[in-house]
Symmetry: C2
Subunit: 400 residues, 2 copies
């Protein structure tokens, strides 16, 4: 590459620097669609007075639990007609991972956006779990290069983690979030009242992300979670409110201060425990909730951290104890089923390569140095991971 | 909205601010894929040493004119094998607006990206006209939330305008760029040699964007274009090189300094003449090249600016003269065909609403105060626009 090279002086260059700042508020409220709660109307009219065009996209999973939701939305729009106009009936879309596995849903939303004449100053009001918010967010981000998205997360997971961040996405080619963009929302409206009707699995599932961020960033918060584990299991709303607020806050701080909010580098420090979690979701055909898979991923990477001498035994035990006190299972058969078939697509450790491929560049995993402090590594020892899995299996058998 | 309202003190809020900076270089070179030109290899290895995975996407329209292109690419990759690896044969895609009208092309690129295991640190090397760059850019931006895009624009239009900006997109629902994102490229490599094989229409077409940006921002540049119109018509490469460089530079400066690179507001100051241009492209089934339509749009909005007393007659005449000296037609029958059918989808003035809808918010059009200075307006008089069209028609008949 050094012989006979043209002088670089033949090249003229313009250096381009594009600074972009995205601002959005995450509000915590109750009774979001009650007529005496002006929050949504205020958020909409903050950008000018005239009534805004809004398309509501609603998670079908809410319907049995929130039978009055559609009526409440209609009444809200009627009462606050100076602030918003629903361009049509809410679009009801399947909840859970199904929302992200059917590419036609995005197309259908694009059709509605076109027919209704929504523009970049119109709003998608997405109400539901993280999967619905991700799918609706992707549709919003790609129509007219970005229609404003207001997220109303209705699960713990979405309120404290996925719903407050800057990503959207759907699955493709059997890979989670293969398609998507970085697109901060216009606003996030967290209504605690939605959590009262969650089933226990979904209530619990989202707590895993709080455990995750506490373990890598905030020992005091982990201590809070450990102390309040019984209250959380008993569905104490005050404890959950604090957990969600602090988790969302740590998440938002990380996005702002990481220096890489759109993940151009190889590192994704918040994704502790997530390489295995993503793969386990797929291997269990999404029978595991994301948070349930994250709990296992946390247990696995904490155990690995302990086995390589990075994490003290007492910290490791406290982590497993807290996860179990919260009601999480820390083992599924998919951890070992295909353990020794290196090229098999169901092989757990292919998840490492898929994790690396999705983000790009060098493999970068977060491990634990102690509770409250993560540390990044670029190489792992699969034999040690197998021992970690065996330990979790053993732990699981003892617990039964 | 003021009676019985809950106190806002019930709401806790977190304010989120996400600063993101995008840097990219626009290089001007010749013989980009000659073995003695290290530019591409240097751009790829600037981010680290190991050979980078690259998928080339090539405009089929280049094939007849650049018969050695694929061989040159292969030889380049062989010579610079420490810098890049093509993950497969280049993907040849239809050129021109066809690239943006077939949604399957984006899907096909996503398939290839998946199969080839491209990640966020891999590269799409898109070689072609603006439409191919837009389509490939959309595919790149949405896979893994953004694979790096290196644009190699091969037309005047793409080298001085669309290829250096921060947008991508495809058409849907009969609307130009209905789907797309804001996603700055990783780098832009402008190779003048590609221009030698352009037909006269494509050579000329891109000059319209230079006229546009000169008219709204830089009287000296417009004077340069006027003086060099004969040389440009005779395909003088030196004049074209200067025109492209200055046009790209003004474009890039605008993106950086506008304060709104991702167009969150209602204003799109660079889109002088574009509301009619977009509609005319559609009305002529894309038989008009984008630049040809822009020339007509410029003539129309300049004439309107003159008729409402904003623009001096001498400036107006100079604009029409320069456009005609460059070889542009300033009239097509589609300007009047459906003039009086207000609800007809082929009605030119529906383009005003579509322009507004695409961007969102208040209608904001750029008009001319004088050569080199645009001014934004929010209301237009369709009767005056009809007179402007009649003037262009008259002008056209005189010219025949």
């Amino acid at each position: 590459m050094t012989i006979g090279i043209k002088s670089a002086s033949n090249v003229r260059s313009l250096k381009q620097c594009v600074p972009v700042t995205f601002n959005y508020d995450v509000h915590f409220t109750r009774g979001l669609f009650e007529l005496n709660n002006p929050l949504l109307a205020q958020v909409l009219t903050a950008a000018g007075d005239s009534p805004k065009k809004v398309l509501a996209v609603v998670d079908a999973g809410l319907m049995p639990h929130q039978p009055a939701l559609l009526d409440n939305l209609a009444a809200y729009a009627e009462f606050y007609r100076d602030a918003l106009i629903f361009v049509q009936q809410p679009a009801i879309v399947p909840g859970g991972e199904a929302a992200k596995n059917d590419p036609q849903l995005v197309e259908q939303l694009h059709h509605i956006i076109d027919r209704a004449g929504l523009c970049r100053h119109s709003y998608i009001l997405a109400i539901g779990g993280g999967a619905v918010l991700d799918m609706a967010g992707y549709a919003a981000a790609t129509a007219h290069r970005g229609i404003r998205l207001i997220r109303v997360p209705t699960t713990v997971l979405a309120q404290n983690d996925s719903g407050v961040g800057v990503k959207n996405g759907i699955n493709a080619f059997g890979k989670k979030n293969f398609l998507g963009t970085f697109a901060p929302p216009y606003a996030v409206l967290n209504d605690l009242d939605f959590l009262t009707t969650l089933d226990d699995r979904n209530w619990r599932s989202g707590i895993a992300e709080a455990v995750k961020v506490a373990l890598i960033k905030d020992a005091d918060f982990f201590d809070f979670i450990t102390r309040h584990a019984p209250a959380l299991v008993q569905r104490d709303m005050q404890a959950m409110q604090e957990l969600i607020y602090r988790c969302a806050q740590l998440h938002l701080e990380h996005i702002t201060t990481s220096g890489d909010p759109f993940e151009k580098g190889s590192s994704r420090p918040l994704d502790f425990g997530h390489w295995a979690a993503h793969k386990l979701e797929q291997l269990t055909n999404y029978n595991l909730r994301h948070g349930e898979a994250v709990a296992i991923g946390i247990a696995l990477d904490s155990t690995y951290s302990y086995l390589i001498g990075l994490l003290a035994k007492s910290d490791w035990q406290q982590i497993l104890n807290t996860l179990q006190a919260l009601g999480f299972s820390l083992y599924v058969p998919e951890l070992v089923a295909q353990l020794h078939q290196l090229e098999h697509p169901d092989y757990l450790f292919r998840g490492l390569r898929e994790f690396q491929e999705h983000l790009g560049g060098e493999l970068t995993l977060m491990l634990l140095e102690k509770i409250g402090k993560g540390v990044e590594v670029h190489h792992v020892d699969l034999l040690v991971y197998e021992r970690a899995i065996a330990l979790l299996q053993h732990h699981n058998q003892l617990g039964e």
